[in-house]
Symmetry: C2
């Protein structure tokens, strides 16, 4: 109403008038053209082109009770490990005429509530979560949300609805096993976050710990929970602390690639040969590590595949192709490069 009449987009009614048909027929041409005769369809399509008609999503959503929107809530975008997933998701959804709404999860508890409400207000077809909204109050809100809730990059015990990811515990265990058995390092340390906000890193640590306790009965871990956020500098600090405390360490499993790169740089600075004097592995296989001259051994996560699977759940192409608890395990790859 507030918009001046000459700026308004044409409506379905106007298209119908121009084509000499009823509104509902225009709707059919757009949504189920096979129900409309060829001649009528052509009249309507010509009218649509003449008026430059673009349907209004809000009206359709209100009337049909279903939006063409998927909401994704991930932590900060810049440098995010979720980008390949989001990118792939967005690509597939857009082919189905579905739009992706992106929101940040780097908020306080109160803001988080507002965020979630704002997303619910859109009545999305699906809600993709990387890690937010997991306290009890939010979970109850999520459970009655009435759309597909998909947690990604992890496989929680009790997914709210769906989960697409991999076991961070297994990944931690596998990498440790790989260092121990395939690479023959026997004094392996863990560098990363053991607890707190990064649940995934903690699970990787648990995997490391499980392997170590079974095979060496020794756990060497430098915990960054208090100090750091997993940036380059934390990697240098971590390497020094570990070598200080356990000088005979021959391999360090870092819970993130960026940490690992910091550790490699610091090791080189100290005159240590990587991997001869100290082997270092990472997690994530971020785009740049290889290209920037550090050929890092790491756990490659199948980010794109996660995006594909999520999209398929939402568009329903493969309904039923997952197991009972609705978790999809996309797995991971251990990639050996020159730092181990």
């Amino acid at each position: 109403m507030p918009r001046p009449i000459d700026e308004r987009w044409s409506t379905m009614k106007e298209v119908a008038n121009l084509a000499g048909v009823a509104k509902i027929t225009v709707s059919r041409v757009l949504r189920s053209p096979e129900l409309v005769s060829k001649t009528t369809r052509e009249k309507v399509e010509s009218a649509i082109n003449k008026l430059g008609y673009v349907p209004e999503a809000a009206a359709g959503a209100l009337s049909s009770g279903r939006s063409q929107i998927v909401a994704a809530n991930i932590s900060t975008l810049s440098g995010s490990i979720f980008l390949s997933t989001i990118n792939q998701l967005s690509n597939i959804l857009s082919k189905h005429g579905i739009q992706l709404i992106l929101s940040n999860s780097e908020y306080s508890e109160e803001m988080e509530f507002q965020q979630l409400s704002a997303l619910i207000a859109q009545r999305p077809l699906g809600l993709v979560l990387s890690n937010a909204f997991h306290n009890t109050k939010r979970r109850s809100m999520l459970s009655r949300i009435g759309c597909k809730v998909i947690e990604i990059w992890d496989l929680p015990e009790n997914p709210i609805d769906y989960a697409v990811g991999f076991s961070n515990f297994d990944a931690g265990y596998s990498m440790t096993q790989f260092l121990f058995k395939d690479c023959c390092y026997k004094k392996i340390a863990f560098l990363g976050t053991k607890q707190g906000f990064d649940r995934r890193s903690e699970m990787r640590f648990q995997g490391y710990k499980d392997f170590q306790l079974k095979h060496t009965s020794e756990v060497r871990a430098f915990d960054l929970t208090a100090s750091g956020k997993g940036n380059i500098h934390d990697g240098t600090v971590g390497l020094n602390s570990i070598l200080n405390k356990w000088p005979d360490t021959d391999a360090i499993f870092c819970s993130g690639d960026v940490l690992a790169i910091g550790a490699v740089c610091e090791a080189r600075r100290r005159g240590l040969r990587v991997p001869k004097d100290i082997a270092i592995s990472g997690f994530g296989d971020i785009e740049f590590s290889n290209e920037y001259g550090i050929e890092l051994t790491t756990v490659k996560v199948r980010g794109e595949e996660i995006g594909t699977r999520v999209a398929n759940i939402i568009v329903g192409d493969i309904e039923g192709a997952f197991n009972i608890n609705k978790s999809i395990d996309v797995g991971y790859d251990i990639v050996r490069r020159s730092t181990t």
Copy 2:
């Protein structure tokens, strides 16, 4: 309608009934609480909490004629230079209850049309474009779109509506001038894309060329339009080609940081000292170049500020604070590090 009644969210009417007021009063409590008396407000708020009411955005948008949505169309997300801008934009908008829809622009012409239509269907408050939709047909579609169209990361001559960015020509000129005057390199080459799909890189080249023609009458450029996409490998190829053709080159201005890093790595591999034997500068100040052990001289783009300005245009906080052609120049910084 299709959703079963017991899964339905409560409506404003239900809240109103529970609170014993009219629907419109509930609407006021949510949108302009200062118009409602304290007692009424509290009754309504309590009813909202009791029912877990979340308004339906589609209904509000339809009724008021304005959505709470902003659409951004950028090229592929992964590794994108636009992330800091998008992140900042998203942060500010969400504080105003506005959601950000993200779409990719890596499509064919036909797909592009569908993409644009899908965005228009949302009747967004603003449309943020990094580089897409610039052919004539699309421009005419955009000119009648009826919302704020904002082009970012560049300052086109005739912005469709608004533009927030910087002059890539000036940036190219400035960096060349910086290398020539401040760093005293006299044989400067350009490595990058001169023409074609990356308009911005081309503008930087024009800036380089303009300076060179004024001061040395010599243009040394290796054009990657045909061969590459600006990755590390292109940087190595480019460095070799340039030194092959113009062996006395003492500085290379690369049109992107990744190219520059490739060039630095290749120079080092060839046993050249950087910057003593060959100086290298980049463009963009991407997050990792510094951290990965290459302290690259580069042009730092104020990506976050662009996001802030775009958000301000959309929420209208600084209406009128830009010049006649509605272009905002956020400038750039030349950052000297150890590669020049």
